[in-house]
C-alpha cells in the first residue's frame, strides 16, 4: 500500500516536527514496515506554472508555434510543437535544468528561433501513459511557482507492508493513528455527527438476507451531481498511490477507500431496477457481466448485491457492467458495506479476482467505517462541486457489541518481556492507540475499540501492543542458559552427518533436488512397472506438470543432474543425494504418505582423465561397488554385504542387483539401462545405487568393540584355478571360506583372466589366501593340507582345476 506524507499531515497534528525518514523508520520499528520511501518532487525540479500570453506561427516551421509565456516575474519565449492550447491557458513549463525522461532541458535555438524552455505534456511529466498535446491546467495556480508543489506532486510516498492482522492500517487514518501512538502527536480523526440522518425516510430500502454474510450495508444517494473533473491535487495524490484517475465519482470512492480503509461502490442510481437493494447469495446458475466485461457464473455461496430483478454486483469484489457509472450518470447510489471476510476470500479465489476492496474485506474491516466513509464522500464532493445533498443515510446492520474489556496484568508484561514497564507509560501507550483504559491495583483494565476488535482479543495481544510501541530495541537482551541436560544430535542424525562427510571426503559432490517430478519422467524410467517404486503420491494442485508427483526414488533426479551437467560440458560426475522419498500409504484413508530417507549415488564418465603418468579410465560398476563396500566396511560389517541379481526395468538386465545386508534388502545397484540412457542423449555409461538410509543406520554397528591385534604371524599362499566362466566369484569365495576353516582370515581375488591358454568357456581366477591362528604360529604343513582340501572341493563342486 502506498500513502503520502502530505495526506498523513491532514490527520496528524504537527507531523512536520518529524521528517518523512524519521516517520518511516519509526513505523518500521513499530511493526508497520515501510518498504520504500520516495521523494517525488525531484522529478519535477525546474518545472513551473506558466501562462500563455500569446503565440504566433514559427516562421520556418509549419508545425511549430512561437509562444510568449508569463512566469510571473518575466515573459519567456518558448517554441512549442503542440496546438491544443489557447491564450491564457496555464501550463507546466520546464526550464533549463529540468529533466524530462533522460533529456535535460536547455535554452536553445529551434529552427533559428530562441526557446527558453519546454511546455510539457502529461506523458512527458509521467502523469499518463499516452497524451495528446501539452497539459493544460485547470484551477487557480500561482505563476512561476513549482508545478509539483502546486498540483500535489511534491510529496513523499511511503510504500507500506501491512501485516494481515491489521486491516485497520490499510488506510491513511490507520497509519496516522499508529504515528500518533509512536510519536505522541495528536491524531485528528474523521468525526461526523449524523445520527439524525439515518433511515429518516423509506424512499429507498435495503434488505440483507443473511446478516452473518453482510453485517452492515449503508448507502446514500447523491442526486444531480454536476459534471466536474477530479481536481489535480486529488488526481495526483491517487497517482502517487498507484491509482489512475477515471472520473470524479470513481476517483472519490478510491480516494476514500485509501483514506479510511472502507471500500465504496458507486452505482448509477437510474440504472437500478428498483428502489430496493437486496443483499443475498446468488441463485443457482445466476450470472453477471462485470465492469471488466467478463461474464461470470456464480456459486450459490457467492454474496451478490441485487435490485429486485438482477444481481448488480458481486459483493466486495466487483460491480456489474449494467449499473456502472458512465459519462451520463447524474444520480449516484453509493454503497458502503461490510461483508464477511472468509466468504469474500473464497469468492475472490474462485473467480481469480483480487482487488483493493476484496483485500480489505478478507481481513475483516471495522463495520463502523461505513457511515464515516459515506459522510467523507459527501464532504469531499461538496468541497469540489459546491453542491449540497439530501441528509439521508440508509443503513442496515447486525447489532453486536464491538467493544471488549481486557485486563492486562503488569505481571504478564514482566513475564513475557522480561522487564517492568512503568504503569503510566503502559497505560499511555494503549491510550494513544485508541484503547481507553484505567490502571487498577496490579493490572490495566482496557476497552478495545471496534476498529481493533478482530485482532485484540486477549491479554497477550495487549502485551504485544505495549512491546512494539515501547520499542523492541528498548527491551534489554538477557542471556539464556538452557536447562535441558545438554545439546546433542540423535544417533541417526550423527550417522547421517558422518555418511555425508564420508562421501564428501571420498570425492563425491552432494546435490539437492526438488522432491517433485513429472509423471512423464516417472513412466519414462518404468517406475510404474516396479512394485517397490510404483506407489507415488500425487499433488492435487501442482505448479505444472513437471512438478506433479513426489519422488519414490532419487534415480531420475540424479540422472537429470547428469544430463544437465553434460549440457554444460561437464561429463564426469560423482554425485550423491540424501533426501526423502514418498510412498502412498494404501493401508487406510487419510494416512500421511510413508517417508523414507534415501542415499543415492551416481557415477558416470571418466574416473581418470588421460594424464602424463597414468592412463585414462572410465568408471565401471566396480567403482560404485567399491564405494558400497567402503561404506559397509566403515559403518557395518563388510562381510554382511551381498549383491543379489534382481532385474529392475531401469537397469541393464545383467547389471542390476539388490543390495542385501544379512539377507535383507536395503538398496539397489546397477547400470542404467543403455536404451534409457540413449533416449536421453547421454553418450556414456551411468551407474547408480540407492540405499535405504534409515535402515542402513539402524543396522550400523552401534556398539563397536575392540578386537585383539593378531599376535602370531600369518602365512599367505596364492591359488590360481581354471573354472567354468559361469561360476561367479562369490560362489568360489563361499566354497573357499567353507573349506578354509577358521584360520582363513583373508581372501583376495588378484587376477581374472580369459583368453589365450585358457579353454573357451573357462576363466582363470587367482586368489591370495591368508591364514592365521590366534593362539600359535601356523605351520606350512597345516596350510598345505587346508589348501589341498580347498582345491579338491572346488574341483568336486565346479570342476575347477589348479592352473599350471
Amino acid at each position: 500500500m502506498k500513502i503520502t506524507y502530505s495526506w498523513l499531515e491532514e490527520f496528524v497534528a504537527d507531523l512536520k516536527d518529524f521528517s518523512p525518514q524519521d516517520i518511516a523508520n519509526k513505523l518500521t520499528m513499530s511493526g508497520t514496515e515501510v518498504k520504500r520511501l520516495e521523494y517525488t518532487g525531484d522529478k519535477y525540479k525546474n518545472i513551473i506554472i506558466a501562462q500563455i500570453e500569446s503565440f504566433i506561427k514559427h516562421p520556418n516551421a509549419d508545425k511549430l508555434s512561437l509562444c510568449k509565456v508569463n512566469i510571473g516575474s518575466e515573459i519567456l519565449n518558448i517554441v512549442c510543437g503542440a496546438n491544443n492550447f489557447k491564450e491564457k491557458d496555464l501550463v507546466a513549463l520546464a526550464l533549463e535544468g529540468a529533466k524530462i525522461g533522460d533529456f535535460t532541458i536547455k535554452k536553445s535555438k529551434i529552427r533559428g528561433e530562441y526557446s527558453e524552455g519546454m511546455m510539457c505534456s502529461e506523458k512527458e511529466l509521467g502523469l499518463s501513459q499516452e497524451s495528446e498535446g501539452i497539459l493544460i491546467l485547470e484551477g487557480n495556480y500561482k505563476l512561476g511557482e513549482s508545478f509539483a508543489r502546486q498540483v500535489g506532486l511534491d510529496d513523499w510516498v511511503f510504500e507500506i507492508e501491512v501485516t494481515p492482522n491489521r486491516p485497520d492500517c490499510l488506510s491513511v487514518i490507520g497509519i496516522a493513528r499508529e504515528i500518533s501512538a509512536i510519536t505522541g502527536l495528536r491524531f485528528k480523526s474523521l468525526e461526523y455527527d449524523c445520527q439524525n440522518e439515518i433511515n429518516i425516510n423509506k424512499n429507498f430500502q435495503i434488505e440483507i438476507k443473511n446478516l452473518q454474510l453482510c453485517p452492515r450495508y449503508s448507502a446514500k444517494i447523491f442526486k444531480d451531481i454536476v459534471d466536474k473533473k477530479t481536481p489535480d491535487w486529488m488526481k495526483n495524490r491517487l497517482l502517487l498511490c498507484d491509482i489512475r484517475s477515471i472520473n470524479l465519482v470513481v476517483d472519490l470512492t478510491n480516494y476514500i477507500m485509501l483514506e479510511t480503509g472502507q471500500p465504496l461502490h458507486a452505482f448509477d442510481a437510474e440504472l437500478l431496477a428498483s428502489n430496493k437493494i437486496i443483499v443475498r447469495t446468488a441463485q443457482k446458475n445466476e450470472s453477471i457481466t462485470l465492469i471488466d466485461g467478463t461474464v461470470r457464473t456464480l456459486n450459490e455461496d457467492t454474496i451478490v448485491i441485487a435490485d429486485e430483478k438482477n444481481a448488480v454486483a458481486i459483493a466486495g469484489i466487483m460491480g456489474g457492467k449494467d449499473t456502472e457509472i458512465n459519462e451520463k450518470t447524474k444520480n449516484v447510489f453509493l454503497e458502503s458495506a461490510n461483508f464477511w471476510g472468509p466468504s469474500i476470500m473464497k469468492t475472490s479465489k474462485k473467480l481469480g479476482l483480487r482487488s483493493e476492496a476484496s483485500n480489505r474485506f478478507e481481513k475483516k474491516i471495522d463495520p463502523m467505517l461505513t457511515i464515516i466513509a459515506l459522510k467523507r464522500f459527501e464532504e469531499l464532493l461538496n468541497k469540489i462541486t459546491g453542491q449540497k445533498f439530501e441528509k439521508v443515510i440508509y443503513d442496515c446492520y447486525l447489532d453486536v457489541n464491538r467493544e471488549r474489556n481486557i485486563n492486562l496484568r503488569f505481571s504478564k508484561i514482566k513475564q513475557i518481556l522480561g522487564i517492568d514497564i512503568e504503569r503510566k507509560a503502559a497505560s499511555l501507550i494503549l491510550e494513544r492507540l485508541g484503547i481507553k483504559n484505567k490502571i487498577s491495583d496490579d493490572y490495566i483494565s482496557a476497552l478495545v475499540p471496534s476498529f481493533r476488535f478482530e485482532d485484540l482479543e486477549r491479554e497477550i495481544d495487549l502485551v504485544e501492543e505495549i512491546a512494539r510501541i515501547y520499542g523492541f530495541e528498548n527491551i534489554p537482551t538477557q542471556k539464556l542458559d538452557s536447562r535441558s541436560s545438554h545439546g546433542k544430535y540423535s544417533y541417526s542424525q550423527k550417522m547421517t552427518m558422518k555418511i555425508r562427510q564420508t562421501l564428501e571426503d571420498s570425492g563425491f559432490n552432494e546435490v539437492i533436488n526438488y522432491s517433485f517430478i513429472s509423471l512423464k519422467e516417472f513412466n519414462f524410467f518404468k517406475l510404474n512397472e516396479e512394485t517397490s517404486f510404483k506407489d507415488y503420491v500425487r499433488i492435487s494442485n501442482p505448479l505444472n506438470e513437471d512438478f506433479e508427483i513426489l519422488r519414490t526414488t532419487l534415480l531420475q533426479s540424479l540422472v537429470k543432474n547428469l544430463k544437465d551437467n553434460i549440457s554444460r560440458k561437464i561429463l564426469n560426475l560423482r554425485i550423491f543425494e540424501i533426501s526423502k522419498v514418498f510412498f502412498k500409504d494404501n493401508s487406510g484413508k487419510n494416512n500421511l504418505p510413508i517417508e523414507k530417507t534415501r542415499l543415492a549415488v551416481l557415477l558416470s564418465g571418466k574416473a581418470n582423465l588421460k594424464s602424463w603418468n597414468y592412463s585414462e579410465r572410465t568408471y565401471d560398476f566396480y567403482d560404485l561397488k567399491g564405494l558400497l563396500e567402503y561404506l559397509f566396511e566403515k559403518f557395518l560389517l563388510k562381510d554382511s554385504l551381498k549383491l543379489l541379481n534382481n532385474e529392475y526395468k531401469f537397469f541393464h538386465p545383467s547389471i542390476s542387483a539388490d543390495i542385501n545386508f544379512n539377507n535383507e534388502k536395503i538398496g539397489i545397484i546397477g547400470k542404467i539401462h543403455p536404451q534409457l540412457v540413449n533416449l536421453l542423449d547421454i553418450r556414456q555409461d551411468v551407474y547408480f545405487m540407492e540405499i535405504d538410509l534409515d535402515n542402513f543406520i539402524i543396522k550400523s554397528d552401534k556398539k563397536q568393540q575392540f578386537k585383539q591385534i593378531p599376535q602370531f604371524p600369518s602365512i599367505s599362499i596364492d591359488l590360481a584355478i581354471v573354472i567354468d566362466e559361469k561360476v561367479t566369484n562369490s560362489e568360489v569365495e563361499e566354497e573357499i571360506y567353507k573349506n578354509g576353516g577358521k584360520n582363513l582370515v583373508n581372501l583376495r581375488l588378484f587376477d581374472l583372466y580369459k583368453g589365450k591358454q585358457i579353454e573357451d568357456g573357462k576363466k582363470s581366477l587367482a586368489y591370495s589366501l591368508e591364514f592365521r591362528a590366534d593362539d600359535r604360529t601356523l605351520k606350512d604343513l597345516e596350510v598345505e593340507i587346508i589348501s589341498k582340501r580347498i582345491i579338491e572341493n572346488l574341483n568336486r563342486k565346479f570342476g575347477a582345476v589348479l592352473r599350471q
Binding site: 472468509p342 504485544e464 537482551t477 533436488n513 526438488y514
Partner: protein, 345 residues
C-alpha cells in the same frame, strides 16, 4: 737397541704427521684409496715394520707391535671417518645430480563437496548444540492440523493466504514451514524444550526469488521464565556466530499467527556497511528470520500450562542465510546442481 726403538718411534711419529698433512689434501675416495695404500699398504712403514718384526729381539717385540698398531689404528680410524664423510658427500652429489620436475601435476584425488544447504544447516546446528539444543525432525508431508490449525491458523484465517500450499488432498499437504515440528515435539515431550528443526518446506511459488521447495530451520525454547530478552539474546548470538561479531542485529515488530509478540530480525548489511545499497534495498538492513514469543494458544494444543511456561520460536530460510553469508546472488543456483557451483563449498 734402545736407539733403534727410538728411531722407530720417531719414524712412526713422522709418518703420522705426514699422514695428517696428506689427509688434508684428500678430496675424493680415489685419493683416499691412494692415501690408505701409502700409509697402510704393503710398502708402508707400518706394514714393513710389522712384517719384519722378527728383526726385533723377542723381549721388545710386544712393545714394538703395540706401538706400531697404535699408530695403525689411529690412521685406520681417521681413514674410516674420512671415508664415511666422503661417501656422504658423494651420495649427496649423486642425489643433487638427479633431475626432478616438481612442477609436473600430481595424481588427482577427486574433490568432493557437501551441499551448501547442508553446510549451512550444520553450521547453525553447531551453534545451537552449543547452546544446549537438540535437533528435532518431522514429516515433510503434513496434515492441515499440524501445519495450520494447531499453529493458530484456523480454516478461514487470512494468514493462510500468505502460504501458497501444495495439497495432496483437502487434509494433507506439503508442509509450508518447519513449524509443525514444534507441535509434534511438544506433544511428545514435556518442558523444558530446546530444539531446532531443519528441513525442506514447500510453497506454490516459482519465480526469480522463489523456488517451490526451499529449506528452513525452526527453533523452539519453552521453559519456566523465558522472556523476550532471552529471545533477543539467543538470536543475537546466532547472528554474531554465523555472520560475525561486527554485525548489528535489530528486531522489528511483525505478525505471525503462532507467536506474540512477533518480530522480524535483520542484520546490518555487510556490503554497504549499513549505508544502504542495492542488496539491502537501500535500508542498510537484511532480513534474516522471523521470531516471537510462543502464542499461549499453542500450549492448549499440547497440554502445557500457559501460566507456568513461556517460550520463544524462530524460523529462518537456509538459502537466504547462505546467500547473505556467501554472497550468492541467484536463488535458482541452489537447485540447478551445476557441479561448478557445488564444488565451491
Amino acid at each position: 737397541m734402545e736407539e733403534k726403538i727410538n728411531l722407530l718411534k720417531q719414524d712412526l711419529n713422522k709418518t703420522f704427521e705426514n699422514f695428517t698433512n696428506d689427509k688434508k689434501e684428500v678430496k675424493s675416495l680415489n685419493e683416499l684409496d691412494l692415501l690408505e695404500s701409502k700409509y697402510l699398504g704393503k710398502k708402508s712403514l707400518i706394514a714393513q715394520t710389522l712384517k719384519n718384526i722378527n728383526e726385533f729381539p723377542h723381549e721388545v717385540k710386544p712393545f714394538v707391535g703395540k706401538t706400531v698398531n697404535e699408530v695403525r689404528n689411529k690412521i685406520e680410524n681417521e681413514i674410516k671417518n674420512l671415508r664415511d664423510e666422503l661417501n656422504l658427500i658423494e651420495f649427496d652429489r649423486k642425489l643433487r645430480e638427479e633431475k626432478f620436475d616438481l612442477t609436473l601435476p600430481g595424481r588427482l584425488l577427486p574433490l568432493g563437496s557437501k551441499n551448501i544447504i547442508n553446510k549451512v544447516i550444520e553450521e547453525i546446528q553447531e551453534i545451537f548444540i552449543g547452546l544446549g539444543y537438540e535437533i528435532a525432525e518431522g514429516p515433510e508431508v503434513e496434515t492441515d492440523y499440524y501445519n495450520f490449525e494447531a499453529l493458530n491458523h484456523p480454516p478461514d484465517h487470512p494468514a493462510r493466504s500468505l502460504h501458497d500450499t501444495f495439497f495432496i488432498d483437502d487434509k494433507i499437504l506439503l508442509r509450508t514451514h518447519t513449524s509443525p515440528v514444534q507441535i509434534r515435539y511438544m506433544e511428545k515431550n514435556k518442558p523444558p524444550v530446546y530444539i531446532i528443526a531443519p528441513g525442506k518446506v514447500y510453497r506454490k511459488d516459482y519465480d526469480v526469488t522463489h523456488t517451490p521447495m526451499f529449506t528452513q530451520i525452526e527453533g523452539l525454547a519453552v521453559d519456566n521464565n523465558i522472556n523476550f530478552g532471552n529471545l533477543k539474546w539467543t538470536l543475537e548470538t546466532l547472528a554474531h556466530s554465523f555472520f560475525g561479531k561486527d554485525r548489528k542485529v535489530r528486531f522489528r515488530p511483525h505478525y505471525f499467527p503462532f507467536t506474540e509478540p512477533s518480530a522480524e530480525v535483520d542484520v546490518s548489511c555487510n556490503i554497504c556497511g549499513g549505508k544502504g545499497c542495492r542488496v539491502c534495498s537501500g535500508t542498510g538492513w537484511l532480513e534474516i528470520l522471523g521470531a516471537g514469543m510462543v502464542d499461549p494458544n499453542l500450549y492448549k494444543y499440547v497440554n502445557y500450562n500457559p501460566d507456568e511456561v513461556t517460550g520463544f520460536a524462530f524460523g529462518m530460510g537456509i538459502e537466504r542465510m547462505a546467500m547473505l553469508k556467501y554472497g550468492i546472488d541467484d536463488l535458482r543456483l541452489f537447485f540447478e546442481n551445476d557441479i561448478r557451483f557445488l564444488r565451491q563449498f
